[in-house]
């Protein structure tokens, strides 16, 4: 790509998105917020896959892995949100700290 955009630009962008996603996962008490952080982390991984595919000679393997990651993210979101809604029906809250009834 012209204009002086290198692989490292994309890697640093991906690193920033990953860090923000990790911060979201760590600091949210809301289960849906945690899932949003996971989505950000998966997106950063996909940026890495596509950047390496682009700067590694234009093979399609990286893009295919990115599509698999998107597919698994969709499955994860469906199951995660179904679990969140089931928890909400039982506990009337999705505060992950308030739902530890299994603690001995």
């Amino acid at each position: 790509m012209g204009g002086g955009i290198t692989l490292n630009h994309f890697l640093v962008l991906s690193l920033i998105v990953f860090s923000l996603g990790l911060f979201t996962v760590l600091t949210r008490r809301n289960a849906i917020g945690i899932l949003m952080g996971v989505e950000l982390i998966l997106n950063s991984a996909n940026i890495n896959y596509l950047a390496f595919a682009f700067y590694g000679g234009g093979k399609y393997d990286g893009q295919i892995f990115a599509i698999f990651v998107i597919m698994l993210a969709a499955a994860e979101a469906v199951i995660g949100l179904a679990v969140v809604l089931a928890i909400y029906q039982n506990f009337k809250t999705i505060d992950v700290d308030a739902t530890e009834t299994l603690r001995g």
């Binding site: 790509m1 012209g2 204009g3 002086g4 994309f10 640093v12 962008l13 690193l15 920033i16 998105v17 990953f18 860090s19 923000l20 990790l22 911060f23 979201t24 760590l26 600091t27 949210r28 008490r29 809301n30 849906i32 917020g33 899932l35 949003m36 952080g37 950000l40 997106n43 996909n46 940026i47 596509l50 950047a51 390496f52 595919a53 682009f54 700067y55 590694g56 000679g57 234009g58 399609y60 893009q63 295919i64 599509i67 998107i70 597919m71 698994l72 993210a73 499955a75 979101a77 469906v78 199951i79 949100l81 179904a82 969140v84 809604l85 089931a86 909400y88 809250t93 999705i94 700290d97």
Partner: protein, 165 residues
């Protein structure tokens, strides 16, 4: 020069929206900020000559996952309360952990000599990806359909109302 401007604009959109997702106190704002993050990532994909993946991202993330998340946010009442969406870990330990992980990865990025080939010229990728899915990657492709079926059935089983007796 133009590519640089586009890259930095898309990166600013992505990072700004992701910061809003991470730091907003209201979960509804976070959800809508996620739209900006996903759209920025779509632009980044197009910049990386991955037109098909960009469209899949648009359809699955923006059209599917984001709408699902908004539904979940709206279905759980009282979620806008600050007490529900406030911090679990303190901000200090979280910044410490993220800082350590980020610095380690930044160091790895800076130190590694990546194997790089001359950048490709963007070309339509759908044909090649379709061939790879039904050729070299046919087994993972079929297993993926099983995973999606399992997720579908699992979501229905988990979220239906049980007849309690």
């Amino acid at each position: 020069m133009l590519a640089q401007v586009i890259f930095y604009a898309l990166a600013a959109l992505t990072v700004g929206s992701a910061m809003l997702v991470a730091f907003s106190r209201n979960i509804v704002y976070s959800t809508f900020a996620l739209l900006g993050a996903f759209m920025g990532v779509v632009g980044i994909y197009i910049l990386l000559a991955a037109d098909f993946v960009a469209m899949v991202q648009l359809l699955v993330y923006v059209g599917g996952i984001l709408v699902l998340t908004i539904f979940a946010v709206m279905l759980t009442a009282g979620i806008g309360d600050v007490t529900v969406s406030n911090r679990a870990v303190g901000t200090g330990p979280a910044i410490f952990t993220v800082g350590i992980a980020g610095l380690v990865m930044l160091y790895a990025i800076a130190r590694t000599q990546w194997h790089q080939v001359a950048a490709v010229t963007p070309a339509p990728t759908t044909y090649a990806i379709g061939n790879a899915f039904l050729g070299e990657y046919v087994l993972p492709f079929e297993v993926a359909s099983l995973v999606l079926l399992a997720a579908l059935i699992g979501a229905i089983v988990i979220s239906r109302h049980e007849a309690r007796d």
